[in-house]
């Protein structure tokens, strides 16, 4: 295996980890939170447990994406932070259904379990010359692990030491730089263990949630744990495909645009932290602290939840929208620091402007003004830091 083969497989892994992270977040955002949404207090508590599990797994998937991007940086490539629009066909076997943004149901959970299961059923081993896209996720990581073991360490790890994301968060996410074969293998083993095969793995937790959900539905057939969100909500016309639901409500579309741009801004900052070009450690820390973490917990999460409460539009009575996680075809920044930071500042300015419009129109409810204030602050802090 060559460096290029490794880069290709790691890029594929990044797209998968990223896409399934969005799937968990979407399902978690759409779960009902209050008896005012027609569920009992007991169901509220149950929903909270499931939401917490989905968000924890999503954070672990973010860490997995971080590991893969750090590895890409370590071996001399750039991070891959793009994923295809939803729905898209699963680039791994034996998953046949497309990767979609859907609310929590036994079927959507079964799909996630299938994706996370690293091994294919007995008797269906991959054959020589079979399409790359039929590997299971476990097989993909096994190949990456073998490749890292085979290529001479000094020749493989040529990336700048600075180009690595570090997260030491008081939660489940911990991510350190990877500069050696041992560090890389340990990180990959952790990633594979978290996905499946251990009692606390994603697969084990998802099976548990599925059993609980089936029991709850059997006990109360009228129980609707999630808001009535459409699958794969979209505002982009260029990437329209079957399975997407085009949102037509004008205010909701604007709120979705805000989400998509905030999501892009967060990814571009992540890209820059993983692929700096002249930034000092202090500047990289600033990118993380001023914009990356606040965007993640104070913008993406609440706005994602708010979107599941907004109407989808004409011809979809009673149906709500949700975050589409839609990206432009490029999730990269130019190397020049001045240009890159100007673009980020411009993007953060757009977020503040759109949020202000949404608040003036009263679209986002009680939480909208808080979101607006936070976006104004993120932008002003970033511009202050640029000076």
């Amino acid at each position: 295996m060559t460096r290029e083969d490794l880069i290709s497989r790691l890029t594929q892994a990044a797209e998968i980890e990223h896409a399934i992270c969005c799937m968990y977040l979407f399902a978690g955002f759409a779960l009902k939170r209050s008896p005012s949404e027609g569920i009992s207090w007991a169901e509220v508590e149950q929903n909270r447990e499931w939401t917490a599990i989905l968000f924890t797994i999503a954070r672990e998937e973010m860490a997995h994406l971080g590991i893969v991007c750090n590895l890409l940086g370590a071996i001399g490539a750039v991070p891959e932070l793009w994923h295809p629009p939803f729905p898209h066909s699963a680039p791994i076997g034996p998953v046949t259904a497309p990767l979609e943004l859907k609310s929590l149901t036994p079927e959507s959970l079964e799909h996630l379990i299938q994706i996370e299961t690293g091994e294919r059923p007995e008797g269906s081993a991959i054959s020589e010359g079979q399409d790359d896209n039929t590997r299971t996720i476990g097989e993909l990581y096994r190949e990456i692990r073998i490749g890292i073991g085979r290529i001479e360490e000094e020749k493989l790890f040529i990336g700048p030491r600075q180009a690595q994301l570090r997260i030491d968060f008081p939660s489940s996410v911990n991510l350190g730089p990877l500069h050696s074969r041992t560090e890389a293998i340990l990180a990959l083993d952790r990633l594979v263990a978290e996905s499946g095969g251990t009692p606390a793995s994603h697969v084990a937790r998802l099976i548990n949630v599925k059993q609980e959900l089936e029991a709850a539905l059997a006990a109360n057939p009228t129980f609707e744990p999630s808001r009535r969100v459409v699958a794969n909500p979209s505002i982009e016309s260029e990437t329209r495909s079957s399975g997407m639901t085009t949102i037509s409500h004008a205010d909701t579309r604007l709120a979705m645009e805000l989400f998509n741009r905030a999501y892009l801004a967060m990814l571009l900052i992540l890209y820059r932290v993983n692929s700096p070009f002249g930034e000092t450690d202090k500047e990289l820390d600033l990118l993380r602290s001023v914009a990356y973490f606040p965007l993640m917990t104070m913008v993406i999460r609440p706005l994602g939840e708010m979107l599941t409460l907004l109407p989808a539009g004409d011809g979809m009575p009673g149906a709500n929208a949700g975050p589409g996680f839609e990206l432009p075809k490029q999730v990269i920044l130019p190397p020049d620091k001045r240009v890159a930071w100007l673009r980020l500042g411009d993007l953060l300015g757009q977020l503040a402007s759109i949020a202000g419009t949404l608040v003036r129109r009263g679209v986002l409810g009680d939480r909208g003004e808080f979101l607006n204030q936070n976006l104004q602050r993120i932008e002003s802090d970033f511009r202050r830091a640029m000076r």
């Binding site: 939170r33 209050s34 207090w41 007991a42 509220v44 508590e45 909270r48 939401t51 917490a52 968000f55 924890t56 954070r59 968060f169 008081p170 939660s171 602290s289 001023v290 973490f293 606040p294 917990t297 104070m298 999460r301 609440p302 939480r367 808080f370 204030q373 936070n374 104004q376 602050r377 993120i378 002003s380 802090d381 202050r384």
Partner: protein
């Protein structure tokens, strides 16, 4: 100088990281609203708690000591008076948007000391020239004034002896295990399904408590700044035994210093202890109970 020492328990029903700070119920953090309770609101309540939970300490911050120009005043009318923060103050960290973890300023800061016949109030302004400035508009150099002070090793103190002295809690895991025992006993006796649900959630949360919940029982942050807004006095000032110094042209600040800590993430309560200095001129010929000599 009128020096007031105050202390007591307060309630703060706040969501915790990594939940966003406007999270209404609590999901990923270690603090949650329970079944039957209203949404979390982040408000720091030095009195009048909302939906207090069983085993909460008695909420209320009071003046525990008064001195004038260094002389203790055991009969002073402000002794045992209520100290409150008005207008819904909150810790404004916002997961790094306003301040880093553990460096949250309190906003708004509008203190009131109220006894039977008198109330003293004063608001701290970020910038007296721009009194309408909102927290998200405050530049970092102004924000710093009202953020926790550095105590040499950092912003906060871990396993503070003073917190343990104030709260009586030093064995953090043991504290929660005892609480769990009480809650299990209450659960066995409970009839109301919503109350049972809430008790079960509390027990489960204690079972799953991480180091951070234990750590909060012993940590403290200290605030120290000078309150700079207009002085407001309602009632008979002479009862104080003197005059609070103020003028439309000259606004002597009120230096305040206090720590907050010992947060119990089960009852959502913590302790505050501090001092407030009020520029003051004692009236000669009056006792401190307000009666002419």
């Amino acid at each position: 100088m009128l020096l007031l020492q105050f202390e007591g328990w307060f309630q703060c029903r706040l969501p915790t990281n990594p939940d966003p700070t406007d999270e209404p119920r609590g999901i990923s953090g270690s603090t949650w609203a329970l079944a039957g309770e209203p949404d979390l609101d982040r408000i720091i309540r030095w009195s009048d708690p909302v939906a207090p939970r069983s085993y909460s300490p008695a909420i209320g911050v009071r003046v525990v000591g008064v001195s004038i120009n260094g002389t203790s005043q055991p009969e002073h009318p402000l002794l045992a008076s209520t100290v409150e923060l008005l207008d819904g103050p909150r810790f404004e960290e916002r997961n790094g948007v306003i301040a880093k973890m553990g460096e949250a300023p309190i906003d708004p800061f509008y203190i009131q000391i109220s006894a039977r016949n008198i109330a003293l109030r004063r608001r701290d302004l970020w910038d007296p020239r721009q009194p309408a400035l909102q927290i998200h508009e405050v530049p970092p150099e102004l924000l710093r004034r009202r953020q926790p002070t550095h105590t040499g090793t950092g912003i906060w103190e871990l396993a503070s002896a003073e917190v343990a002295d104030a709260t009586g809690v030093a064995d953090f895991p043991g504290y929660f295990q005892r609480r769990k025992g009480f809650l299990q006993r209450d659960l066995e006796a409970a009839d109301d399904p919503i109350a049972k649900l809430a008790l079960r959630t509390r027990i489960r949360r204690i079972n799953n408590a991480r180091w951070v919940e234990h750590f909060r029982l012993g940590f403290r942050v200290e605030y120290r700044f000078e309150i700079n807004g207009q002085t407001e006095i309602v009632g008979d000032e002479e009862d104080l035994g003197g005059v609070v110094l103020r003028s439309p042209y000259w606004l002597p600040h009120w230096p305040i210093r206090f720590w907050m800590g010992g947060y119990d993430s089960d009852t959502l309560c913590a302790f505050v202890r501090g001092t407030l200095e009020i520029p003051f001129r004692a009236l000669i010929g009056r006792t401190l109970t307000g009666h002419p000599t």
